[in-house]
């Protein structure tokens, strides 16, 4: 019997390693590289806005607490999901997300369009102890969030790093990061105007946790939850059966 070609490869360690790298590289290259070059991968939407510093801080808390382990943020293109949670998610909606938080497990409901569904007050009560609001819930209680002051000192660094990964924050936004975070949670303060000026009129400015002078982690997290699904209206225009964007009066 002629010697199998494979017997030759087995005799050289380096050759074997190169063969492994070659075989293993193809799939990733074919599937990932075109996502950066094919333009249709991410839709164009002119109204897409950035996370404010406070919302970004809230997003970091969402990551830190592992909320993504129980909540998805990706409504699939299936009828029951659209009816339960709202229009299916578009790629553009996570365009500025580093990392994405689509999730893989729904122990709790999807949160992609939670923004505007409940009042700030509801969120604060729910996060403080979910079972006060929903007795059957198995979501953890996050009481300490309202007790912990938000660290705004590093927010400029956060925005700077976001710039580095090509999220279009301006230098002015970076310079005002801490002031904007404070302003967004203090509606009547002199800092509030700058937030809407820099991030758009639709930005929600309110005393998220109900207490103005103290900026807490609860403020940041609620600000983030309230913006979910509301960075752009594109999803409402795109769905076969158009839906109304929520417009709550908080």
């Amino acid at each position: 019997m002629p010697e199998l070609f494979h017997r030759k490869i087995e005799r050289t360690a380096i050759g074997f390693v190169i063969a492994i790298i070659a075989a293993a590289s193809v799939g990733g290259i074919v599937e990932i590289a075109p996502l950066f070059t094919i333009h249709q991968t991410v839709e164009d939407t002119p109204d897409m806005r950035l996370y404010t510093p406070l919302e970004l801080a809230g997003r970091d808390i969402y990551i830190r607490e592992g909320c993504y382990g129980c909540h998805s943020q990706m409504i699939r293109t299936l009828r029951d999901e659209v009816e339960r949670y709202g229009p299916y998610s578009l790629a553009v909606e996570s365009k500025y997300d580093h990392p994405m938080l689509w999730g893989s497990k729904r122990t709790g409901p999807d949160l992609a369009r939670i923004g505007g569904k409940y009042s700030d007050f509801w969120h604060v009560a729910h996060l403080t102890n979910p079972r006060d609001v929903v007795p059957e819930s198995n979501m953890p209680a996050y009481r300490w969030l309202a007790r912990t002051a938000l660290d705004t000192g590093d927010l400029g660094l956060h925005l700077r790093a976001q710039q580095a990964v090509r999220v279009p924050y301006t230098d002015e936004m970076v310079a005002n990061a801490a002031a904007d975070a404070f302003g967004q949670a203090a509606p009547n303060s002199p800092f509030a105007a700058g937030v809407t000026q820099r991030y758009g009129e639709k930005t929600q400015v309110s005393a998220f946790d109900g207490v103005v002078p103290r900026l807490t982690e609860m403020d940041a997290l609620v600000a983030y939850l309230q913006v979910l699904g509301r960075l752009t209206d594109a999803a409402y225009a795109n769905t076969a059966a158009p839906q109304q964007a929520p417009n709550p009066t908080n």
């Binding site: 991410v42 339960r84 790629a91 819930s137 009481r143």
Partner: protein
């Protein structure tokens, strides 16, 4: 341990430890009260502790001159100890998180103990702590025995093992503090990732250099898998973890990948962490410890080739099956589905090859609990890969995704395959490594086996039920065409299964504790084996013993 090193090597080890200590000091100074600073202290304590150990034995006598003609087994022994410690820790965390889903107040109102922070301590603890250390132990053992050569380094095996465990410790302590990138199975932050690159490259070079010393012309199958495991994990790890830290004095970073591209990169990584960490490496174990334990050669060499290259090539295309019906472009989803289905062929080729190897030794399977561990592992490997290919089909995934069915599939693979093959391998490896006649208590191996089987079955059946029920409830419509169940209805229906799962997991954890005790007692108490055949590297004189692949 230290006695095996010459004075020069002891000095080198101290120098390396000093460098690491200084890095830790710098981290602590720069980071202050940021978790980055806390991790600096962790690094200092860890390197300082090991340095103290080396210094304590610094003046011990030098090793006998013949050490190069012996296998280097000390690091393997320590790796086994680490693996068992992580198993107990990681599975305990699994049981705790499982219990929290049933009784949410078990977080005791603290941040560090809430579900979101504990969940990654479980996954990292079991996959990287338990699985990773077992892989290092067996890779070091198999590569030496099948190459009939000693590990190509004195300090580097220790560097790999201890450095890797430092990575795991930094990862897990980080989660308690809320340090995470949120990428599943790649949660540790940038500095831990950089450190792992250093450790992993050393691992790769050490493995390659040892293979280069082999006395066999051909590289044995098990080593193909260990090699694929090491090489591909390096590629995956580096690409998925590219990130920009907010500062070199802070733990936090932002990944360079945005939104949909990040999703694809993450699941290309995530799925192949399954493929090359939880599958390839453990197939390496299978291809060595199965023929040893059953005392039969691998059934077919050609089938081994087919399944090896099939797995190496196909798996890398399959990641997008984690993103069906999402905002990822359709063509990628379809590619992922297609390759996932094709993946069944090489997967079942491996499983079939293993079962056919056992053919003719079924009486041993009946009598020997260790061999039964390996056999059950193969069966669950076949089962979970079949289930995986099935779940990757889009309409099936429409039901299963986001539900406990995924968790059921995960643990059919993780408990049934990964943990079973590991324990089967350890029960084979431990007596031979410590030169014992057998395990301290074969009866306890039997007890462990039944605890593990029962625990796995309870766990997996509970999750299959809850997952399918959950998926169906979410999509059921009333006759009027409205959704029949609220989300809360589906949550309430889950509680009995969550309790059952916690119980099944507890049995599995007890089994792992029995194993740890039994192995501890084997090392301490079991009678030494009579020297049957010299277990030494081939120095050109004695014919060694290594399992030859069948033609």
């Amino acid at each position: 341990m230290v006695q095996q090193l010459t004075t020069g090597e002891r000095q080198n080890a101290l120098v390396i430890l000093l460098c690491i200590f200084v890095v830790g000091l710098a981290m602590a100074a720069l980071g202050g009260f940021d978790p980055f600073g806390v991790h600096g202290v962790v690094v200092m304590l860890y390197s300082g502790g090991i340095a103290a150990l080396v210094m304590k034995h610094y003046y011990d006598p030098e090793p006998a001159p013949g050490r190069q003609s012996q296998y280097y087994d000390d690091p393997i022994k320590v790796a086994i100890a680490f693996s068992l410690a992580w198993a107990v820790f990681g599975m305990f965390m699994g049981v705790w998180t499982a219990a929290q889903l049933a009784w949410p107040d078990l977080a005791f109102d603290s941040g560090w103990s809430s579900f979101g922070r504990l969940r990654p301590t479980h996954t990292t603890g079991v996959i990287f702590g338990f699985g990773g250390n077992a892989l290092i132990a067996t890779a070091f053992h198999v590569v030496q025995r099948t190459s009939r050569a000693r590990l190509a380094g004195q300090i580097s095996p220790w560097f790999v093992l201890l450095g890797y465990n430092l990575f795991c410790i930094v990862a897990v302590t980080g989660y308690f503090m809320g340090v995470t990138q949120s990428k599943e199975y790649a949660e540790p932050e940038w500095y831990a990732d950089l450190w792992l690159v250093v450790v992993w490259v050393t691992f790769f070079l050490l493995f390659l250099a040892t293979i280069a010393r082999r006395k066999e012309p051909h590289i044995y199958v098990a080593n193909w898998y260990f090699m694929a495991f090491i090489v591909v994990v390096a590629i995956l790890h580096i690409v998925n973890n590219l990130a920009v830290p907010i500062s070199f004095a802070r733990a936090k970073s932002y990944t360079i990948w945005p939104g949909v591209q990040d999703a694809m990169v993450q699941w290309w990584y995530g799925h192949n962490a399954v493929a090359f960490f939880l599958t390839a490496g453990f197939l390496g174990m299978l291809y060595y410890y199965l023929p040893i334990r059953a005392q039969r050669p691998i059934f077919s060499y050609r089938l081994s080739i087919l399944s090896f290259w099939g797995i190496t090539f196909f798996y890398m295309w399959a990641g997008s099956h984690h993103l069906h019906y999402t905002a990822l472009p359709h063509w990628v989803q379809n590619l992922g589905m297609t390759f996932s289905v094709m993946l069944l062929v090489p997967s079942w080729a491996s499983a079939g090859n293993a079962l056919l190897t056992l053919n003719g030794a079924w009486h041993k399977v009946r009598d020997d609990a260790t061999l039964r561990f390996i056999t059950v592992a193969v069966v669950f490997y076949g089962l979970s890969t079949f289930e995986g290919s099935f779940l990757a089909i889009r309409p099936v995934n429409a039901l299963s995704h986001y539900t406990d069915w995924t968790v059921g599939h995960v643990h059919a693979g993780a408990l049934g395959w990964v943990a079973f093959i590991t324990f089967g391998s350890l029960y084979t490896l431990v007596p031979s490594l410590w030169k014992r006649e057998g395990m301290y208590s074969p009866a306890l191996v039997e007890v462990h086996f039944w605890l593990a089987v029962t625990g796995t079955l309870i766990y997996v059946f509970a999750m299959w039920n809850s997952g399918i029920l959950q998926g169906l409830m979410w999509r059921t419509y009333t006759q009027e065409g409205t959704l029949a169940y609220s989300f809360l209805d589906s949550l309430v229906a889950m509680y009995p299964y969550y309790i059952a799962r916690a119980f099944g997991g507890l049995l599995f954890l007890l089994g792992a504790m029995v194993a740890a005790f039994n192995i501890w007692m084997t090392v301490r108490e079991a009678p030494a084996a009579a020297e049957k055949q010299a277990d030494i590297p081939d120095t050109g004189l004695a014919p060694g013993a290594s399992p030859a692949p069948a033609e």
